[in-house]
Protein backbone atom coordinates (compact mmCIF):
# COMPACT_ATOMS: atom_id res chain seq x y z
CA UNK A 1 0.00 0.00 0.00
CA UNK A 2 1.10 3.53 -0.75
CA UNK A 3 2.50 5.51 2.13
CA UNK A 4 -0.11 7.56 3.91
CA UNK A 5 -0.60 9.62 7.01
CA UNK A 6 -2.57 7.77 9.66
CA UNK A 7 -3.52 9.30 12.99
CA UNK A 8 -4.34 6.57 15.52
CA UNK A 9 -3.81 8.50 18.72
CA UNK A 10 -7.33 9.79 19.32
CA UNK A 11 -7.18 8.91 23.02
CA UNK A 12 -4.33 11.39 23.41
CA UNK A 13 -6.38 14.04 21.71
CA UNK A 14 -8.63 14.55 18.72
CA UNK A 15 -8.54 17.02 15.84
CA UNK A 16 -10.96 19.91 16.01
CA UNK A 17 -14.06 19.19 13.96
CA UNK A 18 -14.40 21.63 11.05
CA UNK A 19 -17.91 22.60 12.18
CA UNK A 20 -16.64 23.29 15.68
CA UNK A 21 -13.68 25.23 14.41
CA UNK A 22 -15.92 27.40 12.20
CA UNK A 23 -18.26 28.10 15.10
CA UNK A 24 -15.37 29.04 17.36
CA UNK A 25 -13.86 31.38 14.82
CA UNK A 26 -17.17 33.09 14.41
CA UNK A 27 -17.52 33.33 18.15
CA UNK A 28 -14.14 35.07 18.43
CA UNK A 29 -15.84 38.17 17.09
CA UNK A 30 -18.12 38.23 20.11
CA UNK A 31 -15.56 39.41 22.56
CA UNK A 32 -17.92 40.53 25.27
CA UNK A 33 -17.42 39.28 28.79
CA UNK A 34 -20.24 36.85 29.45
CA UNK A 35 -20.64 38.33 32.92
CA UNK A 36 -21.29 41.84 31.57
CA UNK A 37 -24.84 43.03 31.91
CA UNK A 38 -25.08 44.88 28.61
CA UNK A 39 -26.62 43.30 25.58
CA UNK A 40 -23.38 41.94 24.12
CA UNK A 41 -22.52 40.33 27.46
CA UNK A 42 -25.96 38.81 27.78
CA UNK A 43 -25.68 37.45 24.28
CA UNK A 44 -22.35 35.80 25.06
CA UNK A 45 -23.85 34.42 28.25
CA UNK A 46 -26.84 32.92 26.51
CA UNK A 47 -24.53 31.13 24.08
CA UNK A 48 -22.66 29.69 27.05
CA UNK A 49 -25.88 28.47 28.62
CA UNK A 50 -26.88 26.81 25.37
CA UNK A 51 -23.55 24.98 25.39
CA UNK A 52 -24.12 23.93 28.96
CA UNK A 53 -27.46 22.44 27.97
CA UNK A 54 -25.82 20.52 25.11
CA UNK A 55 -23.16 19.08 27.40
CA UNK A 56 -25.79 18.16 29.99
CA UNK A 57 -27.84 16.43 27.31
CA UNK A 58 -24.85 14.34 26.21
CA UNK A 59 -24.39 12.95 29.73
CA UNK A 60 -28.07 12.59 30.57
CA UNK A 61 -28.09 15.35 33.18
CA UNK A 62 -31.61 16.77 33.39
CA UNK A 63 -30.53 20.08 34.90
CA UNK A 64 -27.82 21.86 32.86
CA UNK A 65 -26.97 23.89 35.96
CA UNK A 66 -25.28 20.80 37.36
CA UNK A 67 -22.49 21.12 34.80
CA UNK A 68 -19.56 23.33 35.79
CA UNK A 69 -17.13 24.35 33.06
CA UNK A 70 -13.45 23.85 33.90
CA UNK A 71 -10.19 23.85 31.96
CA UNK A 72 -10.37 20.10 31.35
CA UNK A 73 -10.23 16.64 32.82
CA UNK A 74 -7.28 17.31 35.10
CA UNK A 75 -8.95 20.31 36.70
CA UNK A 76 -12.28 18.54 37.12
CA UNK A 77 -10.66 15.59 38.84
CA UNK A 78 -8.55 17.83 41.05
CA UNK A 79 -11.62 19.86 42.02
CA UNK A 80 -13.31 16.71 43.31
CA UNK A 81 -10.27 15.65 45.31
CA UNK A 82 -9.80 19.17 46.69
CA UNK A 83 -13.44 19.10 47.78
CA UNK A 84 -12.80 15.84 49.63
CA UNK A 85 -9.75 17.39 51.27
CA UNK A 86 -11.86 20.20 52.70
CA UNK A 87 -14.63 17.84 53.79
CA UNK A 88 -12.25 15.33 55.37
CA UNK A 89 -10.34 17.97 57.27
CA UNK A 90 -13.49 19.07 59.02
CA UNK A 91 -13.81 15.65 60.59
CA UNK A 92 -15.95 12.66 59.87
CA UNK A 93 -15.29 10.41 56.91
CA UNK A 94 -11.87 10.49 55.30
CA UNK A 95 -11.50 7.26 53.36
CA UNK A 96 -10.73 7.45 49.65
CA UNK A 97 -11.13 4.40 47.44
CA UNK A 98 -9.81 4.54 43.89
CA UNK A 99 -7.95 2.21 41.52
CA UNK A 100 -4.43 1.50 40.36
CA UNK A 101 -5.28 2.27 36.75
CA UNK A 102 -6.53 5.85 37.03
CA UNK A 103 -5.10 8.68 34.95
CA UNK A 104 -2.12 10.36 36.68
CA UNK A 105 -4.26 13.38 37.57
CA UNK A 106 -6.44 11.17 39.79
CA UNK A 107 -3.55 9.02 41.04
CA UNK A 108 -1.51 12.04 42.06
CA UNK A 109 -4.48 13.82 43.62
CA UNK A 110 -5.17 10.66 45.63
CA UNK A 111 -1.51 10.44 46.65
CA UNK A 112 -1.71 14.05 47.79
CA UNK A 113 -4.63 13.15 50.06
CA UNK A 114 -2.67 10.16 51.34
CA UNK A 115 0.20 12.52 52.19
CA UNK A 116 -2.31 14.68 54.05
CA UNK A 117 -3.24 11.71 56.21
CA UNK A 118 -6.31 10.44 54.39
CA UNK A 119 -6.56 6.64 54.22
CA UNK A 120 -6.42 5.90 50.48
CA UNK A 121 -6.99 2.50 48.88
CA UNK A 122 -5.83 1.82 45.34
CA UNK A 123 -7.92 -1.12 44.14
CA UNK A 124 -6.47 -3.91 42.05
CA UNK A 125 -7.80 -4.87 38.66
CA UNK A 126 -7.93 -8.28 37.00
CA UNK A 127 -6.00 -9.32 33.89
CA UNK A 128 -8.48 -7.39 31.74
CA UNK A 129 -8.30 -4.21 33.76
CA UNK A 130 -11.66 -4.74 35.49
CA UNK A 131 -11.93 -3.52 39.07
CA UNK A 132 -11.98 -6.26 41.69
CA UNK A 133 -15.53 -5.91 43.03
CA UNK A 134 -14.94 -8.08 46.10
CA UNK A 135 -12.01 -5.94 47.09
CA UNK A 136 -14.13 -2.85 46.44
CA UNK A 137 -16.89 -4.14 48.72
CA UNK A 138 -14.36 -4.83 51.45
CA UNK A 139 -12.65 -1.45 51.03
CA UNK A 140 -15.81 0.67 51.13
CA UNK A 141 -17.36 1.22 54.55
CA UNK A 142 -18.72 3.75 57.00
CA UNK A 143 -15.43 5.66 56.93
CA UNK A 144 -15.38 6.02 53.16
CA UNK A 145 -15.76 9.57 51.90
CA UNK A 146 -15.23 9.05 48.17
CA UNK A 147 -15.12 6.25 45.66
CA UNK A 148 -13.46 7.36 42.42
CA UNK A 149 -13.27 4.90 39.53
CA UNK A 150 -12.68 5.84 35.91
CA UNK A 151 -15.49 4.87 33.54
CA UNK A 152 -13.11 3.70 30.81
CA UNK A 153 -9.36 3.45 30.77
CA UNK A 154 -7.36 5.64 28.42
CA UNK A 155 -4.63 3.05 27.74
CA UNK A 156 -6.43 -0.27 27.39
CA UNK A 157 -10.02 0.91 26.94
CA UNK A 158 -11.56 -1.36 29.58
CA UNK A 159 -15.01 -0.12 30.62
CA UNK A 160 -16.01 -0.49 34.28
CA UNK A 161 -19.44 -1.28 35.64
CA UNK A 162 -19.91 2.19 37.10
CA UNK A 163 -23.53 1.57 37.99
CA UNK A 164 -22.60 -1.39 40.22
CA UNK A 165 -19.67 0.48 41.74
CA UNK A 166 -21.82 3.56 42.44
CA UNK A 167 -24.41 1.36 44.13
CA UNK A 168 -21.77 0.04 46.52
CA UNK A 169 -20.56 3.57 47.25
CA UNK A 170 -24.08 4.83 47.79
CA UNK A 171 -25.00 1.96 50.11
CA UNK A 172 -22.06 2.94 52.30
CA UNK A 173 -22.99 6.63 52.21
CA UNK A 174 -19.88 7.60 50.24
CA UNK A 175 -19.72 9.99 47.31
CA UNK A 176 -19.18 8.47 43.89
CA UNK A 177 -16.97 10.12 41.28
CA UNK A 178 -16.09 8.82 37.85
CA UNK A 179 -13.53 10.15 35.41
CA UNK A 180 -15.45 9.79 32.15
CA UNK A 181 -12.91 11.70 30.09
CA UNK A 182 -12.42 8.77 27.70
CA UNK A 183 -16.05 7.65 27.73
CA UNK A 184 -18.03 10.73 26.83
CA UNK A 185 -18.81 10.66 23.11
CA UNK A 186 -17.59 7.05 22.76
CA UNK A 187 -20.11 5.04 24.75
CA UNK A 188 -23.52 5.90 26.21
CA UNK A 189 -22.99 7.93 29.38
CA UNK A 190 -25.78 8.73 31.81
CA UNK A 191 -25.14 10.28 35.18
CA UNK A 192 -28.55 9.19 36.45
CA UNK A 193 -28.35 5.68 35.11
CA UNK A 194 -24.90 5.28 36.59
CA UNK A 195 -25.87 7.01 39.82
CA UNK A 196 -22.71 9.09 40.12
CA UNK A 197 -22.37 12.20 42.26
CA UNK A 198 -19.50 13.71 40.29
CA UNK A 199 -18.35 13.10 36.75
CA UNK A 200 -15.34 14.44 34.86
CA UNK A 201 -15.32 15.36 31.16
CA UNK A 202 -12.79 16.84 28.79
CA UNK A 203 -13.63 18.46 25.48
CA UNK A 204 -10.47 17.75 23.50
CA UNK A 205 -11.24 14.03 23.46
CA UNK A 206 -14.44 14.65 21.51
CA UNK A 207 -13.24 16.74 18.59
CA UNK A 208 -13.49 20.03 20.43
CA UNK A 209 -10.81 22.43 21.62
CA UNK A 210 -8.20 21.79 24.30
CA UNK A 211 -8.26 23.58 27.63
CA UNK A 212 -11.98 23.20 28.29
CA UNK A 213 -13.86 20.52 30.15
CA UNK A 214 -16.60 19.99 32.63
CA UNK A 215 -17.54 18.58 35.97
CA UNK A 216 -20.98 17.23 36.63
CA UNK A 217 -22.04 17.71 40.25
CA UNK A 218 -25.28 16.14 41.45
CA UNK A 219 -27.66 18.44 43.23
CA UNK A 220 -26.91 18.78 46.92
CA UNK A 221 -23.36 17.41 46.67
CA UNK A 222 -20.66 19.63 48.09
CA UNK A 223 -18.16 21.37 45.85
CA UNK A 224 -15.18 23.42 46.93
CA UNK A 225 -13.77 25.73 44.28
CA UNK A 226 -10.22 25.04 43.18
CA UNK A 227 -10.03 28.56 41.79
CA UNK A 228 -11.58 31.21 43.98
CA UNK A 229 -12.56 34.63 42.70
CA UNK A 230 -15.63 35.93 40.95
CA UNK A 231 -19.12 34.61 40.86
CA UNK A 232 -18.76 32.68 37.60
CA UNK A 233 -20.16 29.16 37.64
CA UNK A 234 -22.04 30.05 40.84
CA UNK A 235 -18.72 30.67 42.51
CA UNK A 236 -17.53 27.11 41.95
CA UNK A 237 -14.99 28.07 39.31
CA UNK A 238 -13.85 31.65 39.07
CA UNK A 239 -12.34 33.31 36.01
CA UNK A 240 -13.76 35.12 33.01
CA UNK A 241 -15.72 32.69 30.85
CA UNK A 242 -13.76 30.95 28.11
CA UNK A 243 -16.40 31.81 25.52
CA UNK A 244 -14.84 30.10 22.52
CA UNK A 245 -13.87 26.99 24.42
CA UNK A 246 -17.34 26.64 25.88
CA UNK A 247 -18.95 27.22 22.48
CA UNK A 248 -16.71 24.55 21.00
CA UNK A 249 -17.56 22.15 23.80
CA UNK A 250 -21.28 22.71 23.34
CA UNK A 251 -21.25 22.04 19.62
CA UNK A 252 -18.86 19.11 19.94
CA UNK A 253 -21.18 17.60 22.58
CA UNK A 254 -24.25 18.13 20.43
CA UNK A 255 -22.62 16.45 17.43
CA UNK A 256 -21.21 13.62 19.54
CA UNK A 257 -24.68 12.88 20.92
CA UNK A 258 -26.26 12.85 17.48
CA UNK A 259 -23.57 10.55 16.09
CA UNK A 260 -22.98 8.25 19.04
CA UNK A 261 -24.79 5.17 17.70
CA UNK A 262 -23.01 5.43 14.35
CA UNK A 263 -19.69 5.98 16.08
CA UNK A 264 -20.03 2.90 18.26
CA UNK A 265 -20.95 0.75 15.31
CA UNK A 266 -18.51 2.04 12.70
CA UNK A 267 -15.48 2.57 14.92
CA UNK A 268 -16.16 -0.69 16.73
CA UNK A 269 -16.06 -2.42 13.34
CA UNK A 270 -12.76 -0.77 12.45
CA UNK A 271 -11.32 -1.83 15.80
CA UNK A 272 -12.24 -5.45 15.15
CA UNK A 273 -10.71 -5.22 11.69
CA UNK A 274 -7.51 -3.79 13.15
CA UNK A 275 -7.38 -6.37 15.94
CA UNK A 276 -7.94 -9.32 13.62
CA UNK A 277 -5.49 -7.90 11.08
CA UNK A 278 -2.72 -7.43 13.62
CA UNK A 279 -3.28 -10.83 15.20
CA UNK A 280 -3.00 -12.39 11.73
CA UNK A 281 0.02 -10.29 10.68
CA UNK A 282 2.13 -10.68 13.81
CA UNK A 283 2.77 -14.02 15.45
CA UNK A 284 2.69 -14.14 19.24
CA UNK A 285 1.23 -10.79 20.08
CA UNK A 286 -1.49 -10.29 22.67
CA UNK A 287 -4.38 -7.90 22.97
CA UNK A 288 -4.63 -6.12 26.32
CA UNK A 289 -7.83 -4.95 27.96
CA UNK A 290 -11.21 -6.61 28.21
CA UNK A 291 -12.29 -8.58 25.13
CA UNK A 292 -15.84 -7.17 25.17
CA UNK A 293 -16.20 -4.47 27.78
CA UNK A 294 -13.91 -2.10 25.95
CA UNK A 295 -14.13 1.29 24.27
CA UNK A 296 -15.04 0.90 20.58
CA UNK A 297 -11.94 2.83 19.52
CA UNK A 298 -9.14 1.53 21.73
CA UNK A 299 -6.85 -1.38 20.92
CA UNK A 300 -3.80 -2.07 23.06
CA UNK A 301 -1.41 -4.76 21.88
CA UNK A 302 1.80 -6.18 23.38
CA UNK A 303 4.48 -7.34 20.97
CA UNK A 304 6.92 -9.55 22.86
CA UNK A 305 10.54 -9.19 21.76
CA UNK A 306 10.13 -5.60 20.52
CA UNK A 307 10.33 -2.44 22.60
CA UNK A 308 7.44 0.00 22.49
CA UNK A 309 9.19 3.19 21.55
CA UNK A 310 11.14 1.39 18.82
CA UNK A 311 7.79 0.21 17.43
CA UNK A 312 6.34 3.70 17.82
CA UNK A 313 9.19 5.35 15.93
CA UNK A 314 9.12 2.70 13.20
CA UNK A 315 5.41 3.34 12.73
CA UNK A 316 6.00 7.10 12.88
CA UNK A 317 8.53 6.81 10.05
CA UNK A 318 5.75 5.13 8.03
CA UNK A 319 3.39 8.01 8.79
CA UNK A 320 1.46 6.23 11.55
CA UNK A 321 0.89 8.02 14.88
CA UNK A 322 0.27 5.87 17.96
CA UNK A 323 1.18 5.76 21.66
CA UNK A 324 3.13 3.31 23.78
CA UNK A 325 3.09 2.04 27.34
CA UNK A 326 6.85 1.80 27.23
CA UNK A 327 8.71 3.59 29.97
CA UNK A 328 11.44 4.67 27.65
CA UNK A 329 9.11 6.98 25.78
CA UNK A 330 8.48 8.95 28.93
CA UNK A 331 12.04 8.89 30.18
CA UNK A 332 11.28 6.95 33.35
CA UNK A 333 12.14 3.33 33.94
CA UNK A 334 8.69 2.13 34.90
CA UNK A 335 6.43 0.97 32.12
CA UNK A 336 2.70 1.71 32.03
CA UNK A 337 1.16 1.47 35.50
CA UNK A 338 -2.06 0.33 33.85
CA UNK A 339 -0.52 -2.65 32.08
CA UNK A 340 1.50 -3.51 35.18
CA UNK A 341 -1.72 -3.49 37.22
CA UNK A 342 -3.23 -6.02 34.79
CA UNK A 343 -0.25 -8.25 35.49
CA UNK A 344 1.25 -8.41 32.00
CA UNK A 345 4.76 -8.03 33.44
CA UNK A 346 7.34 -5.36 32.68
CA UNK A 347 8.73 -6.96 29.54
CA UNK A 348 5.38 -7.13 27.78
CA UNK A 349 4.38 -3.74 29.13
CA UNK A 350 7.51 -2.20 27.59
CA UNK A 351 6.52 -3.67 24.23
CA UNK A 352 2.97 -2.40 24.05
CA UNK A 353 1.28 -0.05 21.61
CA UNK A 354 -2.03 1.76 21.93
CA UNK A 355 -3.91 2.21 18.69
CA UNK A 356 -6.83 4.57 19.23
CA UNK A 357 -9.23 5.15 16.38
CA UNK A 358 -11.54 8.06 15.73
CA UNK A 359 -14.09 9.74 13.51
CA UNK A 360 -11.71 10.20 10.61
CA UNK A 361 -10.37 6.65 10.68
CA UNK A 362 -11.05 4.53 7.62
CA UNK A 363 -10.70 0.92 6.53
CA UNK A 364 -7.78 2.04 4.36
CA UNK A 365 -6.05 3.43 7.46
CA UNK A 366 -6.55 0.15 9.27
CA UNK A 367 -5.33 -1.91 6.35
CA UNK A 368 -2.29 0.32 5.95
CA UNK A 369 -1.35 -0.16 9.62
CA UNK A 370 -1.86 -3.90 9.32
CA UNK A 371 0.37 -3.96 6.22
CA UNK A 372 3.18 -2.15 8.04
CA UNK A 373 3.13 -3.70 11.50
CA UNK A 374 4.24 -7.20 10.46
CA UNK A 375 7.57 -6.21 8.87
CA UNK A 376 8.28 -3.70 11.65
CA UNK A 377 7.88 -6.25 14.43
CA UNK A 378 9.81 -8.86 12.43
CA UNK A 379 12.72 -6.46 11.97
CA UNK A 380 12.88 -5.46 15.62
CA UNK A 381 12.57 -9.06 16.76
CA UNK A 382 15.37 -10.12 14.40
CA UNK A 383 17.82 -7.85 16.22
CA UNK A 384 16.37 -8.45 19.68
CA UNK A 385 18.10 -10.20 22.56
CA UNK A 386 14.75 -11.33 23.88
CA UNK A 387 13.21 -14.59 22.78
CA UNK A 388 9.46 -14.78 22.89
Amino acid sequence: MERRFVYMDYNATTPLRPEVKAEMIEDLELYANASSLHEAGRKARSRIERSRAAVAALIGAKDPERVVFTSGGSESNNTVFATMFHLGRKGGRKGIVTTKIEHPCVLNAAKWLADEGFPVTFLDVDEYGVVDMDQLRRAVGPETLLVSVMAANNEIGTVQDIRAIAAIAKAAGAYMHTDATQSVGKIPVSVDDWGVDYMTMSCHKLYGPKGIGGLYVREGRPLEPLIRGGHQEHGFRAGTYNNQGIMGFGLAAELAKAELDDYVERIGGLRRRLRDGILAAVPKCRVNGHPERVLPNTLNVSFPGAEGEAILLSLDLEGIRVSTGSACASGSLDPSHVLMATGVGPELAHGSIRFSLGRDSTEEDVDYVVSRIGPIIARLRSMSTVSY
Partner: protein, 138 residues
Protein backbone atom coordinates in the same frame (compact mmCIF):
# COMPACT_ATOMS: atom_id res chain seq x y z
CA UNK B 1 9.82 13.09 12.41
CA UNK B 2 11.83 16.28 12.68
CA UNK B 3 15.49 15.71 13.15
CA UNK B 4 18.05 18.41 12.84
CA UNK B 5 17.33 21.80 14.26
CA UNK B 6 16.40 24.25 11.62
CA UNK B 7 15.31 27.81 11.18
CA UNK B 8 11.70 26.87 11.76
CA UNK B 9 12.60 26.41 15.40
CA UNK B 10 13.13 30.15 15.52
CA UNK B 11 16.65 29.92 16.88
CA UNK B 12 15.55 27.57 19.66
CA UNK B 13 18.58 26.30 21.53
CA UNK B 14 17.07 24.24 24.30
CA UNK B 15 17.45 20.50 24.68
CA UNK B 16 17.25 18.42 21.53
CA UNK B 17 13.73 17.08 21.45
CA UNK B 18 13.85 15.01 18.31
CA UNK B 19 16.18 12.38 17.00
CA UNK B 20 18.90 13.47 14.63
CA UNK B 21 19.12 12.03 11.12
CA UNK B 22 22.09 9.97 12.29
CA UNK B 23 20.03 8.41 15.08
CA UNK B 24 17.23 7.58 12.65
CA UNK B 25 19.77 6.14 10.22
CA UNK B 26 21.38 3.89 12.84
CA UNK B 27 17.96 2.90 14.13
CA UNK B 28 16.52 1.94 10.76
CA UNK B 29 19.76 0.53 9.40
CA UNK B 30 21.85 -0.59 12.35
CA UNK B 31 25.45 -1.61 11.64
CA UNK B 32 26.96 -4.87 12.81
CA UNK B 33 23.77 -6.52 13.96
CA UNK B 34 24.20 -10.20 14.58
CA UNK B 35 25.67 -12.83 16.83
CA UNK B 36 28.98 -14.68 16.98
CA UNK B 37 29.41 -18.33 17.73
CA UNK B 38 31.38 -19.21 20.85
CA UNK B 39 34.44 -20.27 18.86
CA UNK B 40 34.47 -17.00 16.87
CA UNK B 41 34.05 -14.60 19.74
CA UNK B 42 36.93 -13.68 22.02
CA UNK B 43 34.86 -11.40 24.19
CA UNK B 44 31.17 -11.29 25.06
CA UNK B 45 28.94 -9.24 27.34
CA UNK B 46 25.26 -9.00 28.09
CA UNK B 47 24.12 -5.82 29.80
CA UNK B 48 20.75 -4.49 30.86
CA UNK B 49 17.42 -6.11 31.61
CA UNK B 50 14.44 -6.42 29.30
CA UNK B 51 12.24 -5.79 32.32
CA UNK B 52 13.77 -2.33 32.53
CA UNK B 53 13.25 -1.72 28.83
CA UNK B 54 16.60 -2.53 27.30
CA UNK B 55 19.17 -5.26 26.98
CA UNK B 56 22.24 -5.51 24.78
CA UNK B 57 24.49 -8.39 23.83
CA UNK B 58 27.89 -7.65 22.35
CA UNK B 59 30.48 -9.94 20.80
CA UNK B 60 34.03 -9.06 19.76
CA UNK B 61 36.60 -11.03 17.78
CA UNK B 62 40.12 -9.90 18.64
CA UNK B 63 43.35 -10.35 16.69
CA UNK B 64 46.66 -8.84 17.77
CA UNK B 65 44.97 -6.80 20.49
CA UNK B 66 42.66 -5.26 17.90
CA UNK B 67 38.87 -5.60 17.53
CA UNK B 68 38.67 -7.28 14.19
CA UNK B 69 34.94 -7.93 14.20
CA UNK B 70 32.12 -6.77 16.40
CA UNK B 71 28.46 -7.75 16.55
CA UNK B 72 25.50 -6.80 18.69
CA UNK B 73 21.91 -7.52 19.39
CA UNK B 74 19.60 -5.19 21.19
CA UNK B 75 16.19 -5.17 22.73
CA UNK B 76 15.53 -1.55 23.32
CA UNK B 77 14.29 1.84 22.32
CA UNK B 78 15.58 3.82 19.33
CA UNK B 79 18.15 5.49 21.59
CA UNK B 80 19.50 2.14 22.72
CA UNK B 81 19.57 0.63 19.24
CA UNK B 82 21.19 3.63 17.53
CA UNK B 83 23.84 4.17 20.22
CA UNK B 84 24.68 0.46 20.21
CA UNK B 85 25.06 0.55 16.45
CA UNK B 86 27.22 3.67 16.55
CA UNK B 87 29.34 2.19 19.31
CA UNK B 88 30.18 -0.82 17.15
CA UNK B 89 31.24 1.53 14.34
CA UNK B 90 33.51 3.46 16.70
CA UNK B 91 35.01 0.31 18.21
CA UNK B 92 35.62 -1.73 15.08
CA UNK B 93 39.28 -1.86 14.14
CA UNK B 94 40.42 -0.26 17.40
CA UNK B 95 42.94 -1.74 19.82
CA UNK B 96 41.47 -2.97 23.09
CA UNK B 97 43.01 0.01 24.91
CA UNK B 98 41.52 2.43 22.40
CA UNK B 99 38.18 0.70 22.75
CA UNK B 100 38.27 1.12 26.51
CA UNK B 101 38.77 4.85 26.04
CA UNK B 102 35.50 5.28 24.13
CA UNK B 103 32.98 7.21 26.24
CA UNK B 104 29.25 7.76 26.19
CA UNK B 105 29.90 11.30 25.04
CA UNK B 106 31.85 9.98 22.05
CA UNK B 107 28.90 7.84 21.00
CA UNK B 108 26.30 10.52 21.57
CA UNK B 109 28.49 13.11 19.85
CA UNK B 110 28.97 10.88 16.81
CA UNK B 111 25.19 10.72 16.50
CA UNK B 112 24.87 14.50 16.68
CA UNK B 113 23.24 14.35 20.09
CA UNK B 114 20.35 12.51 21.65
CA UNK B 115 17.34 13.91 23.51
CA UNK B 116 18.09 14.66 27.15
CA UNK B 117 15.48 12.30 28.55
CA UNK B 118 16.91 9.48 26.44
CA UNK B 119 20.52 9.79 27.56
CA UNK B 120 20.16 6.86 29.96
CA UNK B 121 19.39 4.56 27.03
CA UNK B 122 22.76 5.33 25.51
CA UNK B 123 24.69 4.00 28.49
CA UNK B 124 24.46 0.31 27.67
CA UNK B 125 26.82 0.25 24.70
CA UNK B 126 29.93 1.57 26.39
CA UNK B 127 29.32 -0.63 29.42
CA UNK B 128 28.88 -3.68 27.22
CA UNK B 129 32.05 -2.90 25.28
CA UNK B 130 34.11 -2.55 28.45
CA UNK B 131 32.73 -5.81 29.78
CA UNK B 132 33.40 -7.56 26.46
CA UNK B 133 37.00 -6.32 26.43
CA UNK B 134 37.47 -7.50 29.99
CA UNK B 135 36.15 -10.92 29.07
CA UNK B 136 38.49 -11.07 26.05
CA UNK B 137 41.46 -10.34 28.33
CA UNK B 138 40.51 -12.99 30.80
Amino acid sequence: MDSERNDEDGGYSGPILYYTDAVIDHFTNPRNVGEMADDEADGYACIGDPGCGDEMKLWIAVRDERIERIAFKSYGCPGAISTSSMLTVLAEGRTLDEALAITDDDVVGALGGIPENKQHCSLLGVKALRAAVASARR
